[in-house]
């Protein structure tokens, strides 16, 4: 019987193969600027521009993780205090979009999830791998599953296979690849679009090995990534070239969520004439390769558009059945309550059943393991160091007089 069934099974598999890549059901965006200080104004503007775009295309704030190490709007050198612009025309305030005369309504303020000193390599990796203490708020977590498409955008100062975080530390392409691998192991994304605008950006995605990632960067190895233009009144460059042309494409080609634009068209927009560096794309990690990746819709990553199931007009017919069912359920509920009460009594009588592990585990925020064990180790370490120090002092004070004797 089994043998007989085999060809049919194979056939079914073949037919079903294209269907296995089911659609995603939610979109998440992680937008990271990694540099602080006034002269890096453009990095914050880059990130906020992307933030505004994904919000415009429908990703709710709860699914956007925004990391900003510095607040340019409140910088004392900002002559337009409370505002951040990404163009010298200064028509669009990215920081607080109140809407202009031409636009009907502004998008309002921004919701920063990680700011200032919270923007660290460790926190970024924790965010990706979702390893947080229990006290960490839900709104600051990346709560994705295998049906979520994730957009990751990073900008800052980088070099060959690394990206600086806040002039203090750096994340390497290995760290990123490891984090993505862990995300893949735990099925924390369906597909991912990784975008990075920094010098030598393309070196950041070479180590990736997890399937389902499309990666794109602004510049090749040993190549700088340039800013687009400076605003004389702001006094610094306001946006990077690569991000600028990304935005130009998204603003002109993707006016409403009903439009259909593919990633291939977006990638073709990064010409050397525009970007002044060799933008790169990595397709090979996506099943289906270049062709599949280029045919993905831009909205699959930038918007929040999923397949919906619309009910037909006649859906109301089953109402009577439903009322019956709900009544039935009420009866079941009542019965279950009785049973539970009975079970409770039973439990109380024989209290020997083993307990499920209860109690919350206190978790230290740092990498050192928590609880008394850690403290014990620390005291032991400190104690041994003290003992060594004491031994040294004692020996040197004993040696001192001897030496004097020797000299005399």
């Amino acid at each position: 019987m089994r043998l007989f069934n085999l060809p049919t099974a194979l056939l079914a598999l073949l037919v079903a193969a294209p269907e296995t890549w089911a659609t995603h059901t939610s979109n998440w965006a992680v937008l990271v600027s990694t540099s602080r200080f006034w002269f890096n104004y453009r990095h914050m503007a880059n990130t906020l521009s992307l933030y505004r775009t994904v919000k415009r295309l429908g990703i709710p704030d709860s699914q956007i993780i925004l990391m900003l190490p510095d607040d340019m709007a409140c910088n004392p050198r900002n002559s337009f205090s409370g505002s951040v612009f990404n163009d010298k025309s200064r028509q669009l305030d990215l920081y607080d979009d109140k809407g202009g005369a031409m636009v009907e309504a502004g998008m309002g303020g921004i919701e920063v999830d990680y700011r200032g000193n919270e923007v660290t390599v460790e926190n970024f990796i924790r965010l990706l791998t979702d390893r947080w203490p229990e006290s960490h708020p839900v709104s600051k977590r990346l709560m994705t599953d295998d049906r979520a498409n994730v957009l990751i955008y990073m900008t800052g100062h980088g070099g060959d296979s690394f990206l600086k975080f806040q002039d203090a530390e750096e994340i390497s392409s290995f760290d990123l690849a490891d984090a993505f691998q862990q995300m893949h192991e735990k099925r924390r994304y369906h597909e991912m679009l990784f975008m990075i605008d920094t010098c030598q950006a393309n070196t950041m995605y070479t180590e990736f090995r997890s399937p389902g990632i499309i990666a794109t960067g602004s510049s090749a190895r040993d190549e700088s990534s340039y800013s687009h233009h400076a605003d004389q009144d702001v006094g610094v460059a306001v946006i990077d070239r690569w991000t600028y042309y990304n935005l130009e494409f998204l603003e002109t080609r993707l006016n409403s969520t009903s439009q259909d634009v593919t990633l291939g068209e977006l990638f073709d927009f990064y010409t050397f004439d525009r970007v002044h560096s060799h933008a790169g794309v990595r397709y090979d990690l996506l099943p289906g390769g270049e062709e599949a990746a280029r045919n993905r819709r831009v909205l699959d990553f930038f918007g929040n558009v999923q397949g919906v199931e619309a009910a037909a007009e006649g859906a109301q017919d089953s109402q009577n059945e439903w009322i019956q069912d709900l009544d039935a359920l009420r009866r079941i509920l009542a019965r279950q309550k009785e049973e539970m009460a009975a079970a409770q009594e039973e439990k109380e009588t024989n209290n020997t059943t083993h307990k499920a592990p209860t109690g919350k585990r206190a978790v230290a925020h740092d990498m050192v393991s928590d609880s008394a064990d850690g403290w014990l180790k620390k005291t032991l370490g400190a104690g041994s160091l003290l003992a060594l120090g004491a031994a040294w002092i004692a020996s040197s004070s004993r040696l001192g007089p001897q030496r004097k004797v020797a000299v005399s």
Partner: protein, 541 residues
């Protein structure tokens, strides 16, 4: 070490003929001083070797608890559990011929167990006593109630909605035909579940080859169902929102409506998941400006939304839809009342006014000409029923069989199976992770959680194979939670990538200045010692 010797230069040069030209040479050492020096060097090296080295190793070592990698991998590869589902069916009949009932039962069991697409199941059909109890015992998945027809040749099979009872009206004297009829009915009850279980198990390490073959169409349906449903979460939050584009209606009797239509549905499910509910009303709320529609259709006098508009309809930027209440995900139910100018607002393709967004929630548009300021519970009745329907889809209820209680028990089996598989795959991921990232610490809590996971998985698998499905689900749930806890242990964040060049760059400035004199002095003494050993005569002279 001081110059205390009184030996003259001549003595030195005479003992060493080569240095006769040089004017100055260091005075020879006394054996005592060189011994002291050796002792000093030795003690330095002893301190380095006995204190420094262990200290360094101790302080830089990473605590990694032993994980039962082998059994973790066994679970991930599906070697530890072969799920099958024994289903107990009880046969009640009004006839007093228990011998005949037993034959019918045995025959039905044989037929059911020989079905090719039911290989995952093992049916036990037993003829029950004649006392008809309203509440079936826990062990019985289905009770078949055989009834004598009021008129001849009347054949009927009907599932009761609140208890897993299948009423069969049949008066065939032929045992074989009766058994065939019964098994055909039972088969139709469990057909969808068998497909669904096969879909869950197929193409995974847990596949046993007993799975039913699923046609591409069925696969599509099952895929849609799993895509739609929320993943298991120990807590779910429901948000019911009324968004009005004008100022009316500004209130709704939501509490009463929820009590009537939603709470009974949550009841049986609350054994699996905890629910919290909140509601909100927002006035002057407009849908998302980023969609193209709606367009006015003059022919029907309706405003129409295209299918492509539905996905972007939710105004995520302005509607406060993520309350962040509780730790679990939120299921959103949105009731939108369009303004009088834009009413009626319908979906162009279907003419309906409600849609479901997979793993997000449900949306409905309320088109009504005469709306007061307050929506009564009666007004909300059709809306709540649609929401209830959407809720069952979002929770992953199967669409059939028509009996709700059977659907719940189907869901119990499916959820238990998928939780076992998900916890197992988490164990596999964890074991690969610990092998891959050598530099991360593995605290004891992780080992404890892993042990608990494996323990619970074993129990769940046993329960499943012995037909205790709700207990299997409970154990699988705990296993899943523990596995997640182990994998997402906050202290297991990999050290930032630290290449060997960096390590050298850190240690060389630190240890270099100290190591050079130590090594040089040690080497010098060693060479001298070796020399001394090779030429014992010079020393004895």
């Amino acid at each position: 070490m001081m110059m205390r010797g009184d030996k003259t230069q001549a003595d030195v040069s005479s003992s060493d003929g080569q240095s006769s030209i040089t004017a100055m040479a260091p005075p020879p050492e006394q054996p005592a001083t060189s011994n002291t020096r050796r002792l000093i060097i030795l003690s330095f090296w002893l301190v380095v070797a006995c204190l420094g080295l262990p200290h360094w190793i101790w302080t830089t070592s990473i605590h990694r608890s032993d994980l039962p990698l082998e059994s973790m991998n066994d679970w991930a590869e599906g070697k530890s559990c072969q799920p099958h589902y024994p289903l107990n069916i009880r046969l009640h009949s009004q006839s007093h011929d228990s011998a005949r009932d037993a034959i019918v039962a045995a025959r039905t069991e044989t037929i059911l167990n020989s079905l090719t697409d039911f290989q995952l199941y093992r049916f036990h059909v037993a003829a029950g006593n004649n006392t008809v109890s309203d509440v079936p015992t826990q062990d019985d998945v289905l009770v078949v109630e055989l009834k004598q027809p009021s008129k001849a040749d009347h054949v009927e099979a009907k599932l009761q909605s609140w208890v897993p009872v299948l009423d069969i009206v049949h008066a065939d004297d032929d045992v074989e035909r009766l058994a065939e009829f019964i098994s055909e009915q039972v088969r139709s009850v469990f057909a969808d579940e068998a497909k669904s279980l096969s879909y869950i198990l197929g193409n995974t390490p847990f596949a046993t080859g007993k799975e039913a073959i699923i046609s591409p169409e069925d696969r599509k349906i099952l895929e849609a169902r799993t895509t739609r449903a929320f993943k298991y979460a120990s807590a779910l939050h429901l948000t019911f929102s009324l968004f009005t584009s004008s100022a009316t209606p500004s209130a709704w009797d939501i509490e009463e409506a929820l009590e009537q239509y939603i709470t009974p549905l949550l009841g049986p499910f609350s054994a699996i998941t905890k629910f919290t509910v909140d509601t909100q009303v927002q006035l002057q709320a407009s849908f998302s400006p980023s969609i193209e529609g709606p367009t006015f259709d003059a022919a029907t006098g309706q405003w129409k939304l295209d299918n492509s508009d539905l996905g972007g309809f939710i105004n995520a930027a302005e509607w406060p839809l993520s309350p962040s209440i509780g730790s679990g995900p939120t299921i959103n139910f949105v009731l939108y009342v369009p303004s009088a100018q834009q009413s009626p607002l319908v979906i162009a393709e279907t003419g309906g006014s409600s849609w479901l967004i997979p793993q997000w929630g449900g949306v409905q548009i309320l088109n009504s000409q005469h709306l007061s300021g307050r929506l009564s519970a009666e007004d909300l009745r059709p809306i709540m029923l649609t929401f209830a329907d959407q809720l069952t889809s979002l929770l992953g209820f199967p669409q059939s069989p028509p009996s709700l209680s059977l659907r719940i028990s189907s869901l119990t089996r499916e959820r238990a199976t998928s939780l076992i598989m998900s916890a197992s795959s988490t164990l596999g991921a964890l074991s690969r992770l610990t092998l891959k990232l050598k530099s991360i610490a593995i605290p004891d809590t992780v080992a404890k959680s892993v042990d608990e996971t494996i323990n619970r998985l074993n129990q769940a698998c046993q329960d499943l194979n012995q037909g205790r499905f709700s207990r299997a689900l409970q154990n699988a749930r705990i296993a899943e939670d523990e596995a997640e806890q182990a994998f997402f242990e906050p202290s297991m964040v990999g050290q930032v990538y630290f290449p060997d060049e960096h390590r050298v760059a850190v240690y060389v400035p630190l240890l270099g200045p100290m190591a050079v004199p130590l090594v040089m002095a040690g080497a010098k003494e060693l060479i001298a010692w070796v020399k001394y050993l090779k030429s014992p005569k010079t020393k004895t002279a």
